[in-house]
């Protein structure tokens, strides 16, 4: 009746993909990518989460409204994270007279 019935093979395939991605994220963590470790780990986690949402939670086969709600959740989470970080990342920036506004490297004549 309502709700899409996916074949078992889809579920097993997604399960395998998730396990592989988990293995990858653990392996990559031991490789020193400097400041890229964090984005890579986050990217893998987002991929895994998307797989679970689309296939295990049937978002892919449900109404556009459900997809809109999923998008809204992550959009407002992004607002919370990014707008707050605009404060913390720009705290170091000094606005000295003569200092380049926003550069944070204003030279203060002693």
């Amino acid at each position: 009746m309502a709700g899409h019935i996916s074949p078992k093979s889809t579920y097993y395939a997604i399960f395998a993909a998730l396990m592989v991605l988990t293995a990858i994220t653990v392996a990559v963590a031991f490789v020193n990518l400097g400041s890229f470790n964090f984005p890579v780990a986050l990217g893998i986690a987002i991929t895994k989460a998307t797989l679970v949402i689309l296939f295990f939670m049937h978002a892919r086969y449900s109404s556009k409204l459900t997809k809109l709600f999923v998008g809204t959740a992550f959009f407002f989470l992004a607002i919370l994270l990014t707008l707050t970080m605009t404060d913390y990342l720009s705290r170091g920036m000094k606005t000295y007279p003569g200092g380049a506004a926003g550069s944070g490297y204003g030279v203060r004549t002693p």
């Binding site: 309502a2 019935i5 989470l77 994270l81 970080m85």
Partner: protein, 231 residues
């Protein structure tokens, strides 16, 4: 939605419909869509509920990368990875359980749901050992927190967030465990039919969400800097 509707007598008149159709809905499909939509909305609130902690995590990771690296190395990565595998497995069994309910296989539904509960239990037991190990190493924030080296302060913040995030996640697991117990009991009583299996589906959505939270928690807490960039 607009098909002919039987006139309702006064409240509580004879229901000419499917026994599971509640009085204020017109069709089973409308009821099903309403239930799933309601569950997705609840999951939005959960995303933002955990979102607050992710904000604190992101801020302090940017402020104290060295402390985050040192404190993260205190966690046991094999247990973390094992737990991730267990939870992804439980997501699979949950999905298979929902599928069994959709196709009307009562016994299979019960078995898959019990499997999901078992995997959830394994996860919680592993978590218990991890917490016990933290207590022994005095890594529990509070008065008797001990962490050698100059990063003791930010490390205590890390462990505060560790316990808050994993504690909140474990609480959601325990709630999920009891929900699954109820669903398994209902399935055992053959309550679900291919037309009405909504409780299985929405508890499945909840379980998958709890799995997704762990999918993010594992790399953020366990894999901060295993390569020694900030060593």
């Amino acid at each position: 939605m607009a098909e002919a509707l039987t006139a309702h007598g006064d409240h509580g008149g004879p229901h000419a419909h499917h026994p599971d159709l509640q009085h204020h809905f017109d069709t089973l499909e409308q009821q099903h869509e309403a239930a799933t939509l309601g569950m997705w909305l609840f999951l939005i609130t959960e995303v933002l509920f955990f979102g607050g902690l992710f904000l604190a995590y992101m801020l302090y990771r940017v402020w104290y990368p060295v402390a985050w690296a040192e404190a993260s190395r205190e966690l046991d990565i094999t247990l973390g990875a094992f737990n991730t595998a267990v939870l992804i497995g439980s997501s699979l069994t949950m999905a298979m359980g929902v599928r069994a309910a959709q196709t009307g296989k009562q016994r299979a539904t019960v078995v898959w749901i019990l499997l999901t509960m078992a995997l959830g239990l394994v996860f919680l037991i592993v978590k218990y050992f991890e917490y016990k190990e933290k207590f022994e190493h005095h890594h529990v924030p509070g008065v008797n927190f001990m962490f050698e080296g100059p990063q003791a302060g930010p490390a205590q913040i890390y462990f505060s967030l560790y316990f808050l995030m994993t504690g909140l996640h474990a609480t959601h697991m325990i709630i999920g465990f009891f929900i699954m117990a109820v669903i398994a009991w209902m399935a055992h009583k053959k309550r679900f039919t291919p037309e009405w299996y909504t409780p299985v589906e929405i508890s499945g959505l909840y379980w998958h969400f709890v799995d997704i939270v762990w999918i993010f928690l594992f790399p953020l807490l366990y894999l901060v800097d295993r390569a020694g960039h900030f060593a």
